[in-house]
Amino acid sequence: MIPGVSINEILTLTSILFFIGVYGFITRKNLISMLISLELILNSSIINFVVINKYLYPELLQGMVYSIFIIAVAAAETALAVAIIINIYRRTGSVEVSETETMKY
């Protein structure tokens, strides 16, 4: 609970953060940059969890617990993604997303 800041303002902030992440994910050419954009999306949702928990149900803790849970999952996911990116780099010599377009019909 931050004095003088309403829930709407924070949710607006997280929405902006979310769409920045989406924009980055769709427009970046570099796989690492895409991964970072993905993290932005995740973080915006984590903030949502915390804020809603704090503002609407201050006596409960589920939102907090879930945010920690998501951070752990995000760490694992990042490790996996980096491993895949390293493999792509070894095969193609670059980390451009255009190198991964062969998987289609």
């Binding site: 994910f25 377009e101 062969t102 998987m103």
Partner: protein, 639 residues
């Protein structure tokens, strides 16, 4: 009656069939012949034992032979309507057991010589066993459905054996023809069975034939187009019988069936399977006789009489010796049907029934003998055609004598078997209708004529030079001939009227001398004409043929029945009914299904380009979709 014995009779051929069929590539031909003959010999002994037990050991009750039935419910529909499996022993089934066993055993032994060196030797014996099994099952059936099952089984074994030389196009065509024509007839049979089942609530022979039973007592209660429904059912059942027994107009398959090996013709298309139709009518005889005062039986009479005459006329002009015999078989089967038709029921009234069964019995012996003799001739000359033969009596003495005995028997010369049974038939016909009697006598004369035309044509006639000097057949073929010849001589003395009658009580039969004299006289006349025409080579026959030009042509083409049927089937039916239906099926039914499949392929070909492989496109589509959905939901829930 011992049930185990009875069940073993059909079971042994079945086991032989399975063994020979499954291990057909492992068993040596010599062994398979021995297995077949040994199996059937056991069955034959059991059949004779059963007959002896039934006729001479088991006591008659009030002078009537009792029917022995042992059955178990197989498929249950209602309390009264169920399909049973079991065995039924009464005088006609015992008589048929004897016929089937004897002829089948002789044919088995004969085949060991006739089929020697053939590639499908084991297969042949397996089929023969299958056929024998089915025929036993047919004979012993306790109800309409059981007889129908085995009826189809004999049909399929007949099909397999006609098409035995499956590399020959004509044999395949003949097999198909036989199957389709008899199957067409069996369709009527099946509908008849259904009608009987629906209106009387039973398939059981004993109940159906019981004068107090549901069929005979209540035939008048339901009618269709002026006739009792039960009569219609009987007519349809007779249609099945007519198909199997090659009655006009369903006779076209029998001459073509001669494409099969000759022992098969002897067994199936002369002695056993083709009499199944006669047997069926005899089996349901009380029904035929009592329902609607024997209306269905009248049809049996006239179809039989006409077939007898029709086939005898055609037989005169045929040049393939097996086809002559085939038409002769058809003619004699017509005789049997006719005898059943003119029969009464009680005591001496039932002489027609007795005569029919008697003729069935004797005919099986001498017709099998004729066919086996013809097979022996074909084996020696390597041709079926009469013009390739002549003067064979010097080369084949045993075949000559046995063939002569059989020909005399079928011509009705006393004291051979055919004389006795034919005489009884004529007696029965005489007491019923002068017209039927007249046909019977005329056919008897024709029979004698064409049979001796055949005999003189094969064994006398011109002395000709053969490329390979013909020789007498081996002992395995001549022994069955001799056995059957002996049976042909003695079979007439079986006191048939005391054993096999419609009311199962038996009566004293005595020779009707004037009628017998007329029959023998007509037969002798036929033989005499054949003697003049064919004994020595002369041109009398061909001069007669030219004198009767168009009639001769019609007859030698079997009155163009094959052509008529082909015309009806192909030009009328196929073109106007079957072809449009096929078109509808192909264009509309198949077209709809294929259209759906094709459209799916086309559409998927167009939209698969959307799957670009770029992960960002997917993400864009996904998020775009979510945004659109979100907007939609917001729009909905805000209102």
């Amino acid at each position: 009656m011992n049930l185990i014995n009875l069940l073993l009779i059909p079971a042994i051929p079945l086991v032989v069939f399975l063994v020979l069929g499954i291990f057909s590539h492992k068993i040596k031909p010599a062994a398979s012949g021995v297995i077949g003959v040994a199996g059937l010999a056991t069955s034959t002994l059991l059949s004779y034992y059963t007959a002896w037990q039934y006729f001479f050991v088991t006591e008659k009750v009030n002078g009537v032979y009792q029917t022995f039935v042992e059955k178990t419910v197989w498929i249950n529909f209602t309390d009264t309507l169920h399909i049973d499996m079991g065995v039924l022993v009464d005088p006609i089934s015992v008589m048929m057991l004897i016929v089937v066993s004897t002829v089948s055993l002789m044919v088995h032994i004969y085949s060991r010589g006739y089929m020697k060196g053939d590639d499908g030797y084991t297969r042949f014996f397996a089929y023969l066993s299958l056929f024998t099994f089915s025929m036993y099952g047919l004979v012993l059936a306790t109800n309409l459905f059981q007889i129908y099952i085995f009826w189809e089984l004999v049909g399929v074994s007949s099909f397999l054996l006609i098409g035995y030389y499956y590399t020959k196009t004509s044999a395949i065509a003949a097999a198909k023809k036989a199957f389709i024509v008899t199957r067409f007839a069996d369709f009527g049979f099946l509908i008849g069975i259904f009608i009987i089942g629906f209106y009387t609530n039973t398939f059981d022979f004993q109940l159906l034939n019981d004068p107090q039973g549901p069929a005979i007592l209540t035939w008048a209660s339901s009618s269709f187009m002026g006739l009792s429904v039960i009569t219609w059912a009987l007519i349809l059942i007779f249609m099945g019988g007519a198909g199997k027994s090659a009655m006009f107009p369903l006779h076209v398959w029998l001459p073509d069936a001669m494409e099969g090996p000759t022992p098969v013709s002897a067994l199936i298309h002369a002695a056993t399977m083709v009499v199944a139709g006669v047997y069926l009518v005899a089996r349901l005889f009380p029904m035929f006789y009592m329902v609607e005062d024997g209306f269905a039986l009248q049809i049996v009479t006239y179809v039989g009489a006409f077939s007898a005459l029709f086939a005898a006329i055609i037989a005169i002009t045929q040049t393939d010796i097996k086809r002559v015999l085939a038409f002769s078989t058809m003619s004699q089967l017509g005789y049997m049907m006719m005898a059943l038709g003119v029969s009464g029921f009680d005591g001496h009234e039932g002489v027609g029934y007795m005569a029919s069964m008697f003729h069935l019995f004797t005919h099986a012996m001498f017709k099998a003998l004729l066919f086996l003799g013809a097979g022996s001739v074909i084996h020696a000359v390597h041709s079926n055609l009469l013009q390739d033969m002549g003067g064979l009596r010097k080369y084949m003495p045993v075949t000559n004598i046995t063939f002569l005995i059989a020909a005399l028997a079928i011509a009705g010369v006393p004291p051979l078997a055919g004389f006795w049974s034919k005489d009884e038939i004529l007696v029965a016909a005489y007491s019923n209708s002068q017209f039927i009697y007249g046909i019977g006598v005329f056919v008897a004369g024709l029979t004698a004529f064409y049979m001796f035309r055949l005999y003189f044509g094969i064994f006398w006639g011109k002395d000709r030079q053969y490329k390979h000097t013909p020789h007498e057949s081996p002992a395995s073929m001549t022994i069955p001939l001799i056995v059957l010849a002996v049976l042909t001589m003695v079979a007439g003395f079986v006191p048939f009227s005391e054993l096999v009658t419609a009311d199962k009580a038996g009566f004293e039969a005595h020779l009707n001398l004037p009628l017998a004299a007329i029959a023998v006289g007509v037969g002798a006349l036929g033989i005499f004409f054949a003697w003049i025409f064919y004994k020595k080579e002369n041109d009398l026959a061909s001069r007669f043929a030219t004198a009767f030009g168009s009639l001769y042509k019609w007859t030698s083409h079997k009155f163009y029945f094959d052509e008529i049927y082909l015309f009806v089937a192909r030009t009328i039916f196929f073109k106007n009914v079957a072809a449009p239906i096929a078109k509808f099926d192909k264009k509309i039914v198949d077209g709809t299904m294929e259209g759906i499949g094709n459209q799916t392929v086309v559409i998927s070909g167009k939209i698969k380009g959307w799957q670009s492989g770029r992960v960002q496109d997917y993400a864009f589509a996904f998020i775009g979709g979510v945004v659109i959905l979100a907007l939609v939901f917001i729009y909905i829930f805000n209102n």
